[in-house]
C-alpha cells in the first residue's frame, strides 16, 4: 500500500538528500514508505519512548535468562540461609538489607534469601502474567469487536450488551472474591497447584479487561467497513472472512499494538496488587507484590526489602507506559500535541 508523504516527511526526505543530490540517494528519497516505516521513523526520534523501549527489552531479557543470570551470580532465589539474619529481630544482618559483594541487594528478612535473584524470578512472574493476560484480552476483545462491528444487527446488540454488563461489574472486588474461591478448590478441570494459580490470575485479569479493547475495535470496524477499499473488495466478490482478515484486520494493528503496550503494565500492577493482598501468588512462586507484602513488618527498621521490589515494579511499569505513549504518538501523529 502506498500513501502520500506529509509535508514534514518531505522536508526530512529533502534534507537527507542534501548536497550530493543525484545518484542512488535521490531515488531512495522519493520512494513510498509504508505506515509502519513512517511510524518507526517518528518513534526513533522520540528519545523518551526509545529509552522506555530499551528498558522493557532489558527486563524481558533478564526474565528469560533469570536462571542463567542467577547461576552466574552464584545465587538461588529460594536458598534459605538463617545465618544471614539476626535470630532475635529476624532482620538481615548489616546495613542496607545485608547488602554485600555476594548479595548485591541484600537478603530477605527471616529466611535470608538473595533479593536480587528473587527480583529476577519475580520479573518472570510479572511478565508472564502481563503478556498472557493481555493476549487473552486481545483474543476475546478483537473477535468480539470485529464480529460486532462487522455484522452489526443482533450480533452487535448481543455482544455490546455482554460487554456493557461486564463493564458494570465491580471487577476488582469480584476478581478478589473469585481468586479467594479458587484458593479453596484443589483442582479444576484437571489443573492444580501453581499452574492453576497462573491460569486463574490470567483469566481474571484478561477476561474482565476484554470489553475495553472490544469497544475500541468495534468503533474502528464500524467506520472501516464503510470505506471505499472494503466496498471495492466486496464488489469483487470477496467473502466476509476475507474482507475481515485481509482488508479490515491490517488496519487494526496500530490501535491494538498501542492498547496492548499500555495494558501490559496495568496487568502487571494488577497481579502485584492481588499478590500484595494475599489472593494472588503464594510461595514458592515469587511475585514482587508478595515481596512487598512481606516487607510490611520490617520496613520501619530496614527499608531495603521494601525499596528493592517496589523500584523493580515501578521501573518496569514506567518503561512500558513511556514506550506505549511514544508508540501511540508515532502511530497517530495527530494525537501528539
Amino acid at each position: 500500500m502506498s500513501i502520500s508523504l506529509s509535508p514534514s516527511e518531505l522536508e526530512v526526505a529533502a534534507d537527507s538528500v542534501g548536497p550530493d543530490a543525484g545518484g542512488p540517494g535521490a531515488e531512495k528519497a522519493i520512494e513510498g514508505r509504508s505506515l509502519g516505516q513512517l511510524a518507526w521513523r517518528r518513534l526513533k526520534h522520540d528519545k523518551v519512548a526509545m529509552a522506555g523501549g530499551v528498558v522493557v527489552l532489558l527486563i524481558i531479557l533478564v526474565a528469560i535468562f533469570a536462571p542463567l543470570l542467577t547461576d552466574w551470580l552464584g545465587q538461588k532465589p529460594n536458598t534459605i540461609d538463617y545465618n544471614l539474619t539476626d535470630p532475635s529481630t529476624q532482620l538481615p544482618m548489616g546495613s542496607f538489607g545485608g547488602a554485600s559483594g555476594k548479595h548485591w541487594l541484600g537478603v530477605t528478612p527471616v529466611l535470608g534469601q538473595d533479593v536480587l535473584a528473587q527480583l529476577m524470578y519475580g520479573a518472570r512472574t510479572s511478565l508472564i502474567i502481563g503478556f498472557a493476560a493481555t493476549l487473552l484480552s486481545l483474543v476475546f476483545g478483537v473477535s468480539a469487536g470485529l464480529a460486532a462491528g462487522y455484522f452489526r444487527g443482533w450480533a452487535d446488540s448481543f455482544l455490546s450488551r455482554i460487554m456493557d454488563l461486564l463493564l458494570s461489574f465491580p471487577v476488582l472486588l469480584f476478581s478478589i472474591a473469585l481468586l479467594a474461591v479458587f484458593s479453596i478448590i484443589p483442582s479444576f478441570l484437571g489443573v492444580s497447584g501453581t499452574p492453576l494459580r497462573y491460569a486463574v490470575i490470567i483469566f481474571v485479569l484478561g477476561f474482565f479487561g476484554f470489553p475495553y479493547i472490544g469497544r475500541i475495535v468495534r468503533g474502528q470496524v464500524l467506520s472501516l467497513r464503510e470505506k471505499e477499499f472494503v466496498e471495492a473488495a466486496r464488489s469483487l466478490g470477496a467473502s466476509n472472512f476475507r474482507i475481515m482478515s485481509k482488508e479490515i484486520a491490517p488496519n487494526l494493528i496500530g490501535p491494538i499494538l498501542v492498547y496492548a503496550t499500555l495494558t501490559i503494565p496495568n496487568y502487571i500492577l494488577g497481579e502485584a496488587g492481588l499478590s500484595y493482598i494475599g489472593v494472588g501468588f503464594q510461595p514458592p512462586t515469587i511475585s514482587w507484590g508478595s515481596m512487598l507484602n512481606d516487607a510490611g513488618n520490617y520496613f520501619q527498621i530496614d527499608p531495603m526489602y521494601l525499596i528493592a521490589p517496589g523500584m523493580a515494579l515501578f521501573i518496569t511499569v514506567l518503561a512500558f507506559n513511556l514506550f506505549g505513549d511514544g508508540l501511540r504518538d508515532a502511530l497517530d501523529p495527530r494525537s501528539r500535541r
Binding site: F169, P170, A177, A180, I184
Partner: protein, 334 residues
C-alpha cells in the same frame, strides 16, 4: 424524560439481577468443586454427626435446586431470615445479606461498622484528587508544551506507574517513622475525635489521591486541548470576551462534563479501589472486611460485600446517566 429515567432504572435492575445471580451461583458452586459441604463456609465448622450436617444443609437450603437457593437468598435480603449453626439461632432482619457465625454478627452490621471508614477515606481522597487533578490538567491543557505542562505530565505518568502498596509504606516510613510527625495514629470516628480522625486519614488520602489525581490530570488536559480548539471558543474570543471568562465559562465547562461521568463511576467502584489502601494503612473499612472474610473462608461476608459493591456501582452508573441527560441537552432520551 420520565420515560428515559424509567427505562434506565429498569435496565439497572436487570443488571443487578444478573450480577447478583452470577456472583451467587459462583459462590454456591465453589464448595462443590472443593469437595466440601457448603455448610463449612457458612458456619466455620462441620457438625460431627452426619445427621446434624444433613439438618444444617436442609436449614440453609443446600438440598434445594440452585434456582430455589437464589430465590431463598433474594427473599432474605427483602424479608430477613432466621439462621442457625446448630448451637445458636438468631434472626437476621431485612435487608439481610447473611450472617457470619465466625464473627457472631450479621453481615449488615459488619458492613455498617466498616462503611464510615471507607467513606471517610474515599471522600477525603476524592476531594484532593479532583481539585489537584483538574487544576494541573487545566493549566497543562491551556499551555501545551510549556515547562509546567511537561513537568506536570511527567509527574502524572510517574504517579500512574507507582502502586499504592509501594507509595503507602514509603509515606509511612517518611512521615511516621523518620520525621515522627504522626505517631502511630489509629482510626477514630469523626464525631468522637475529629483531630484523630484527620491524623489517621491524612496519609491514606494522599496515597490514594496521588494515583487518581494523575489519571484526572491526563484526562482533563486532553479534554481541555480538544475544547480549546473548538469553534465556539473562537467565537467567544472573537466577541472580545476576557480570556478568564472564555476559559472558565466556555472551555472548562465543556471539558469537565466527561470528567463528571468518570468521577461518578470512580465513586461507584470505591469499595474496590480502597481495598489496597485499607490493607496498607490497616484501616478497618469494607476492603479489609472482605480480606478478613477471605482469610477466614467466611462465605457470607465475601458474598455480602461483593453484592453491595455491585449495587453501589450500578446505582452510581444510573445517577451519572440521569444527571448527564439533565445537564447536557445533547444527550438523546431515545
Amino acid at each position: 424524560m420520565i420515560r428515559y429515567i424509567i427505562r434506565r432504572v429498569m435496565g439497572a435492575v436487570l443488571v443487578l439481577v444478573a450480577v447478583s445471580f452470577v456472583t451467587f451461583l459462583l459462590f454456591q458452586l465453589a464448595p462443590a468443586l472443593a469437595h466440601r459441604s457448603p455448610v463449612y463456609y457458612y458456619v466455620g465448622k462441620i457438625p460431627p454427626s452426619p445427621g446434624g450436617l444433613k439438618l444444617l444443609e436442609h436449614r440453609f437450603g443446600f438440598d434445594l435446586p440452585w434456582y430455589d437457593q437464589y430465590w431463598h437468598y433474594l427473599r432474605s435480603i427483602f424479608f430477613g431470615q432466621t439462621v442457625s449453626d446448630g448451637d445458636t439461632t438468631t434472626h437476621c432482619g431485612a435487608p439481610c445479606l447473611g450472617y457470619s457465625f465466625r464473627l457472631n454478627s450479621s453481615v449488615d452490621s459488619l458492613i455498617l461498622q466498616a462503611l464510615p471508614v471507607s467513606l471517610s477515606l474515599a471522600g477525603g481522597a476524592a476531594v484532593l484528587w479532583l481539585v489537584g487533578g483538574v487544576l494541573v490538567g487545566t493549566v497543562s491543557g491551556l499551555r501545551p508544551g510549556s515547562f509546567f505542562d511537561r513537568a506536570g505530565m511527567t509527574g502524572a505518568l510517574t504517579a500512574v506507574s507507582l502502586p499504592i502498596f509501594f507509595t503507602g509504606p514509603l509515606l509511612l516510613l517518611i512521615f511516621e517513622y523518620k520525621l515522627k510527625w504522626l505517631s502511630n495514629p489509629s482510626y477514630s470516628g469523626i464525631t468522637q475525635d475529629p483531630l484523630q480522625w484527620f491524623k489517621s486519614l491524612i496519609l491514606p488520602w494522599f496515597a490514594l489521591a496521588f494515583l487518581f489525581a494523575a489519571l484526572y490530570a491526563r484526562l482533563t488536559r486532553a479534554n481541555m486541548l480538544d475544547t480549546m480548539g473548538e469553534d465556539f471558543i473562537r467565537t467567544a474570543r472573537a466577541k472580545g470576551l476576557p480570556r478568564r471568562t472564555v476559559v472558565i465559562k466556555h472551555g472548562l465547562r465543556a471539558a469537565l462534563t466527561p470528567i463528571v461521568t468518570i468521577f461518578g463511576i470512580d465513586l461507584g467502584t470505591l469499595i474496590g479501589t480502597t481495598v489496597i489502601t485499607e490493607t496498607v494503612f490497616n484501616l478497618h473499612g469494607l476492603g479489609l472486611l472482605l480480606i478478613t472474610g477471605i482469610r477466614q473462608q467466611d462465605l457470607p461476608i465475601i458474598l455480602g460485600v461483593t453484592i453491595l459493591a455491585a449495587v453501589a456501582l450500578v446505582v452510581a452508573n444510573l445517577i451519572v446517566d440521569i444527571l448527564y441527560a439533565v445537564v447536557d441537552p445533547r444527550v438523546s432520551y431515545g
